[in-house]
């Protein structure tokens, strides 16, 4: 197997066993980049010299059996919204095109402490909102990779790195995960600190991660989390709640049908599969989410926007301006409704281990003028449910379709075990032909 085809877990194990040289690994990823990056455009900044220097240090240490952590010598992608010490961080905006932070974001610090090498800064949409960057979907370059974590997802799918981190405020990890046929995880917000991440909306932002297998994102989570995730003994059967309300109305006929097929496969494999009915508070998801988002985005960008309105893309500009016409009472109201919503939604897990929905409306839309619609992901971000997307099928256009699995807050251990079981039943092995 070529080094670039190794999963994160495989690469980490091979380095530890002395079977893979960190330097050779980095060089093979650079070669892969030279083959595909011009077409995919996943990266904003790659400092080849420093990456190689770090790989050499890791190699010297590994030869002496000195390992910094479980990710020793493994290069990962970092969404360009996370501060990286001495490495340009642009937030996808010309206003920051020469900005070089003097410190690492907390998540980056944790990854480095685990031994990971920052391979490069991956493309983010402007300020992690909806104005797209140049990245294209490796499965079909005429299609969007989704966003806002566009570059991270595309880079992992295109085998330019084994794993990467992103951020999610509504659907910026789950949607690109699904569109790129890879696994994604957005843990409960408090699991990974957001210090050093340029915010889009403080109370909605989450750190997320991408890999090519459930075990990969598990390793990434374990490397970054503030508090250890309780691991569960292996199980083969889980109580799966299929949510058809709202999610099926918003899915394409193909995505609905494939989700039903998946539910059937899981039932045939011994999972307890039943439909979930949503509480009435669910109808308030969009008004609550959007009011909080508008108000917080407007506040965060208040000064920059006033000084440089011409540098803002239309989509984030509209978000800011509509946030500016809100009053404090509107925002507080939305926060209070969110609290109630979270309480009501958490009650669903009395009967189910995980909830299953389509991860996106369908396959990645054609064109790169839009990153798609986060409608499927927002409800779980608002609820602060740890959520994963797992690829399970190809659409009729050859593009991947993802399943979205969510668990109760802080139940990442249960979610990961359920996702592994689903992954095993599905056996998805397709990859982009790039």
């Amino acid at each position: 197997m070529s080094p670039e085809d190794l999963s994160l877990v495989e690469a980490a194990a091979a380095i530890r066993a002395g079977e893979l040289s960190p330097v050779q690994y980095v060089l093979s990823l650079f070669t892969r980049m030279s083959q595909v990056e011009l077409r995919v455009q996943a990266w904003t900044t790659v400092d080849h010299e420093n990456v190689l220097a770090e790989a050499r240090k890791c190699e010297t240490e590994a030869a002496k059996k000195q390992f910094r952590g479980p990710l020793h010598g493994v290069p990962v992608g970092i969404k360009d919204i996370f501060y990286t010490k001495d490495l340009r961080t642009t937030m996808g905006s010309q206003l920051f095109e020469n900005f070089v932070p003097s410190y690492d974001a907390h998540a980056v610090k944790r990854l480095k402490a685990a031994g990971a090498i920052v391979l490069g800064k991956s493309v983010t949409t402007m300020f992690a909102n909806l104005d797209p960057g140049p990245t294209r979907n490796p499965w079909n370059l005429a299609h969007t990779p989704g966003g806002s974590s566009s570059g991270s997802a595309a880079a992992v799918a295109a085998r330019m790195c084994p794993a990467a981190i992103g951020s999610q405020t509504v659907g910026s990890v789950g949607r690109p995960g699904a569109f790129n046929g890879i696994v994604s995880l957005v843990p409960t917000r408090e699991r990974i600190g957001l210090q050093g991440v340029f915010p889009l909306a403080w109370s909605l932002d989450h750190v997320g991660m991408f890999g090519r297998a459930v075990a990969d994102v598990e390793l990434m989570l374990d490397s970054m989390t503030e508090s250890p995730v309780q691991k569960l003994p292996e199980r083969r059967s889980f109580r799966i709640g299929v949510v058809r309300d709202f999610f099926y109305e918003n899915a394409t006929p193909e995505a609905r049908s494939l989700n039903e097929t998946l539910a059937g496969k899981l039932a045939a494999s011994g999972f307890q599969v039943e439909e979930v009915r949503l509480p009435p508070t669910f109808d308030l998801t969009q008004p609550t989410l959007r009011t909080i988002l508008r108000a917080e985005v407007a506040s965060i960008h208040e000064q920059l926007f006033a000084a440089h309105p011409e540098s803002y893309g239309e989509k984030i500009r509209v978000m800011i301006e509509t946030g500016m016409v809100l009053e404090a009472a509107d925002y507080i109201r939305a926060r209070r409704v969110r609290r109630r919503y979270q309480r009501d939604m958490a009650g669903l897990f009395e009967k189910f281990d995980v909830l299953l929905t389509p991860a996106a409306r369908g396959t990645a839309p054609e064109g790169i003028g839009s990153t798609g619609d986060p409608v499927m992901n927002g409800p779980w971000t608002l609820a602060d449910f740890p959520t994963m997307t797992v690829p399970h099928a190809l659409g009729s256009n050859g593009l991947p379709i993802g399943a979205q699995l969510s668990a109760a807050p802080l139940q990442e251990g249960l979610l990961l075990e359920a996702a592994k079981a689903v992954e095993s039943v599905v056996g998805f092995s397709a990859r982009p032909a790039l």
Partner: protein
Amino acid sequence: MSDNPLIEILSERAMEKFGHQRAEKLRSEIEQLADELKKLYSAPVEPLDEP
């Protein structure tokens, strides 16, 4: 035409802040925002529902 009075209130605020032309461009977003606020204010909340 919607009978939501919030549309005009929000539109006036937009005009004061951004001028007539920009406020007109934001009209459909403002109508959506007004609809969302109407739903939020119809939602039951109790004193113990803290933000």
